[in-house]
Symmetry: C2
Subunit: 205 residues, 2 copies
DNA sequence: GCCATGTTGCTGACAGAACAGTAACCTAAC
DNA sequence: GTTAGGTTACTGTTCTGTCAGCAACATGGC
């Protein structure tokens, strides 16, 4: 494969990220993408075979470029993972297009027969495991056990990051993505490391 | 308007909720909906004018039926609001179709020119205000002030509920929607009512 | 109580556009 | 001279929306 060809494909992937992000996968078209890279839609199909396949490669490509930006070339563990998540939130606040792509595609993926469903299932499973593992490390350092809380807390951390992105995309002026994410992560970490009585009391049906 | 007509329209709205939920708005078609109520797609357009308009009415209809189920006919305040949110999460764990509709549509609404965008902007703004107000009530009862934290916490509570729904829809067996939501709400409430030092420490860029 | 007249709730057929994918062909690079 | 990177042209499908017409129902005059 020629290096120019590789760069051409990367350009297509970047354009596809933007189109799927701004219009959704179902609503974004190959023509939209083709226009951005001065091609016909048939040219894109020549490179990627089908629209479904293109989406899969868009997601893979984004994962790769994420890892490239990480100097150590792999996600840190322990407390550093949580700091990394906060830093990611600050970085995300400056790249709405990519955030939008992830928000739209991850939600769309829960629909029947969506080509990215498996990707997102894997992704969340992996991330939950990594966050849970980081919690275990931090707990061990402090001589605490909190296994039951850790499972919930790991899912919560990912959830709050995603949910804040939706609100932020809808009204960027009304929600501070990064600062609020930081607040949430601190709150959830504290609930694991220094648990307290529930302020809710018993809840009747 | 005849009562049978009204019931017919409600049937269409229910069918539309299911279709938009399971396939998304862009990908779900009027024919899908028409089939479920034994009509032609032209019949649906006769009642609702356009697909966009139908979506708007689907969302309105769902809000109405939500309020009907609430005995006091309006959302409670203070600590009762938080209990209500937890109860809603338990109820949601038994109606994946409606949850899916909300997840898919709210995320899709951030795309350019989406007909439900205004609806969701309003919705989140209103909900954040209500949660913030409930926080203020609870703080007042306890003689605390936490105005700066409240803004963040209100957004976080909505965010974590939404985010957990996505993970739960993707792998219902791996995420306990209701219990995890309860855990998150308790954690965030505690962070407002009994704040502690951040476990993260300073974060370097 | 009954007919005339509008109104409502559809259907069937069609227009018009958009879209994914295919096939044949060209051209330039290796 | 064979392969890779495209284009043009076309196919078949799908989908929203429009329009004319029709049957059932409602309503007011008698």
């Amino acid at each position: 494969m020629r290096p120019e060809t590789l760069e051409r494909r990367r350009a297509i992937l970047r354009a596809a990220t933007e189109v799927f992000g701004s219009k959704g996968y179902a609503n974004g078209t190959l023509l939209d993408i083709a226009d951005q890279v001065d091609m016909t839609h048939a040219g894109i199909l020549h490179h990627f075979g089908s629209k479904d396949q293109l989406l899969v490669e868009v997601l893979r490509y984004r994962d790769e470029s994420d890892v490239e930006n990480l100097e150590q070339k792999h996600i840190p563990g322990g407390i550093e993972l949580f700091r990394h998540l906060v830093r990611t939130a600050f970085a995300n606040a400056r790249r709405a297009a990519i955030v939008q792509a992830y928000v739209v595609l991850s939600a769309e993926s829960v629909t029947d027969g969506h080509p990215a469903r498996e990707y997102f299932e894997d992704r969340y499973r992996t991330l939950r495991d990594e966050v849970a593992e980081a919690f275990r490390e931090v707990c061990a350092e402090r001589g605490i056990t909190a296994e039951d809380r850790i499972g919930h807390a790991a899912a919560c951390i990912l959830a709050v990051m995603d949910g804040l992105q939706v609100q932020w995309l809808l009204e960027p002026g009304k929600v501070e993505l990064a600062e609020t994410t930081e607040y949430a992560i601190e709150a959830i970490m504290t609930s694991v490391l220094e648990p307290r009585e529930s302020p809710l009391g018993p809840i009747s049906a």
